[in-house]
Amino acid sequence: MVYDVTIDGKNYRLDLNRVEGRWSCRLDGRDVEVDAVLARPDVLSLRIGNMAYEVKSERVANDLHLWVGSRRFAVEVRDPRSLRGRVRAGDEHGPKKIVAPMPGKVVRLLVREGAEVEPGAGVAVVEAMKMQNEIKSPKKGTIQKILVSEGAAVNAGDVLAIVE
């Protein structure tokens, strides 16, 4: 099995095969001696050579995170043979979605459609867990569209507004 793995913007080509219960592993063309036990779902005990690691896996909103010790890595895994692999647009130009970072209630909208905003300008106030949080514009531009109304309940990742 071949995987293309992207970690914090860096790409790795990983070739994993299992023969007679032993893993063979090539990372970017290097042979690596690996032994893995899935201790429980989302917890992998990994031996690389004789070094031991516990790696934890979690999905927050749409991001896959792997934790090696106390370090977190944002990870994307693609099967190069599959068409389901996706490329994330890290494009700073063009319209940008302003999303709710957590579930909550929109208590106030701070701008109207068509408003000019600076980066960091407050767009909406979302309340969750008794805290009011100002959601800010990620860039300078015009508020093209507002997709929520005051009082609306939102989930993490819901688009509040679009700034162009």
């Binding site: 592993c25 690691y53 895994v77 389901r84 969750a128």
Partner: protein
């Protein structure tokens, strides 16, 4: 002794009190709102009663509904925990009227302490040291100007009914006073329904140190040592420790005696906490008294060997304090981390949601008071405190070492928590040197974090990513970012299964 106690709270403190009830052979009745049916305190209870909608006013703050449950369940006492109704004198009075014992001070003692200005007037009579300022709210801007000029800038404006930093403003110079006063007043009105604001001399970079007191209903009051609570963010405590690194035996007994005087002046009974501000010359000034069990009570329990909830219950049942002041001794050092559901990478926004993976630390010197479990959905409706992790050691250094080790074992997946913040605090040189004040955290967070890049860990993550995909682990397989045909996954897990059974057979 009580036969049945109703716990009018939720989260980790409800579980904490429930455990004490069970340890004492007392049945525990809990209440829960619509979003808390699956909460841990309901799972562990002997009886559980729904009390309405998620909004606290409809449930955990609803005196009528809670007293109704007390009557229906036949509970003979109510423990309010902290927050919610714990410092509500009307509730304490209503319990009394309904013939059910409120585990805490009397309504009259709470009333005396509930307003900061009234508490101040009572305490000044008892000879308690105060920061210079007014003991009554200021009537007008002109009066505020006059007072500020008399005590000297910088001054602090505070809401009389306040707490948690609401209605508080630091004023450096006369020209800032007018707008600060207006802002503090309107915030106080909005937050507490009371716009009374008073003025104090501002102490620059103070420490926040509090003294635990315990009083029975027979006139005996003792102090159980101090807690250092200087590590705060937005005026909310984040990490507490006991004893305070700057308090020696002499200062402890002076502070303790003042705290006892404060309690006695208010005819206080049960557990309470007297908060002090401490300036750089170690002068201490009365701040306020909290008329409840504190979130951070475990650090005191660890260094005194006492169980404060057991004692609260015994005191409420009419027992005398089972020890005297001279029997209280302090041993070792304890530090508590408040684990919140919030995102350190996103300005500490709350982060409710489903806990997909929970790995909890244990081992020597570690105590964990938790209200969460794996698979539980953290609701958006309440305070984001999930759990408290407390480290205990022979001395401060060992407590830090054990806590650091335990934090490295602690993992909460699926939601964001502030666990990483504590790793950072515990390795900070100033923290290790105990150079603490209430501005410490804001200063630390302004500095960029030095994260050494570690290419080996990234390689490990890359290999693990492929392994998770190949082994079909849940988080890695869910969502569009993951891959792996189902046939491959099945084959891999099957051979994994065979491997495991082969290994088992070899044992």
């Amino acid at each position: 002794m009580f036969k049945k106690i109703l716990i009018a709270n939720r989260g980790e403190i409800a579980v904490r009190v429930l455990r004490a009830c069970h340890e004492m052979g007392i049945a525990a009745v809990v209440v829960y709102s619509d979003v808390d049916r699956a909460a841990l305190h309901v799972r562990k209870a002997d009886e559980a009663y729904p009390i309405g909608a998620a909004a606290a006013a409809e449930s955990y703050l609803n005196i009528g509904k809670i007293l109704d449950v007390a009557a229906r369940s036949g509970a003979d006492a109510i423990h309010p925990g902290y927050g919610f109704l714990s410092e509500n004198a009307k509730f304490a009075q209503a319990c009394d009227d309904a013939g059910v014992k409120f585990i805490g001070p009397t309504a009259a003692a709470m009333d005396a302490m509930g307003s900061k200005t009234r508490a101040r007037q009572a305490m000044e009579k008892a000879g308690v040291p105060f920061v210079r300022g007014t003991s009554r709210g200021v009537e007008s801007f002109a009066e505020a100007e006059q007072v500020a000029a008399r005590i000297g800038y910088p001054v602090m404006l505070k809401a009389a009914a306040g707490g948690g930093g609401k209605g508080m403003r630091l004023v450096h110079a006369p020209e800032e006073l007018k707008s600060a006063l207006e802002a503090a007043r309107s915030e106080a009105e909005r937050s507490f329904g009371d716009s009374e604001v008073y003025i104090e001399k501002a102490i620059v970079n103070p420490r926040h140190i509090e003294m635990q007191v315990l009083a029975d209903e027979h006139g005996n009051t003792v102090y159980l040592g101090e807690r250092e609570c200087s590590l705060q963010r937005r005026h909310q405590k984040v990490l507490e420790e006991a004893p305070s690194p700057i308090v020696d035996a002499d200062m402890r007994s002076r502070m303790g005696e003042v705290a006892v005087r404060v309690g006695q002046a208010a005819a206080y009974s049960n557990a309470g906490t007297v908060e002090f501000l401490v300036d750089q010359q170690k002068n201490f000034y009365f701040l306020e008294m909290n008329t409840r069990l504190q979130v951070e009570h475990p650090v005191t329990e660890l260094i005194t060997g006492l169980d404060l909830v057991h004692l609260q219950i015994r005191i409420a049942a009419g027992e005398k304090l089972p020890f005297r002041q001279e029997d209280v001794c302090i041993r070792g050092h304890a530090i508590e981390c408040r684990i919140y559901a919030e995102d350190p990478d996103n300005n500490y926004f709350p982060s409710p949601g489903k806990i997909t993976l929970l790995l909890a630390p244990s081992g020597p010197g570690i105590r964990r008071d938790s209200g969460m479990y794996e698979g539980w959905n953290v609701p958006i409706d309440y305070d984001p405190l999930l759990a408290k992790l407390i480290g205990y050691g022979t001395d401060r250094e060992q407590a830090i070492a054990r806590l650091t080790r335990a934090l490295s074992e602690y993992f909460v997946g699926g939601i964001k928590t502030n666990i990483s913040l504590f790793r950072r605090i515990l390795r900070d040189a100033d923290f290790r040197a105990a150079k603490l004040d209430t501005g410490f955290l804001d200063r630390m967070l302004k500095r960029a974090e030095d994260q050494p890049s570690d290419s080996r860990a990234a390689d490990v993550a890359a290999i693990a990513a492929g392994m998770f995909a190949a082994l079909g682990s849940t988080a890695a397989a869910a969502g569009e970012g993951a891959i792996g045909g189902s046939s491959q996954v099945t084959a891999a897990s099957e051979s994994n299964w065979k491997n495991a059974s082969r290994r088992e057979a070899l044992r």
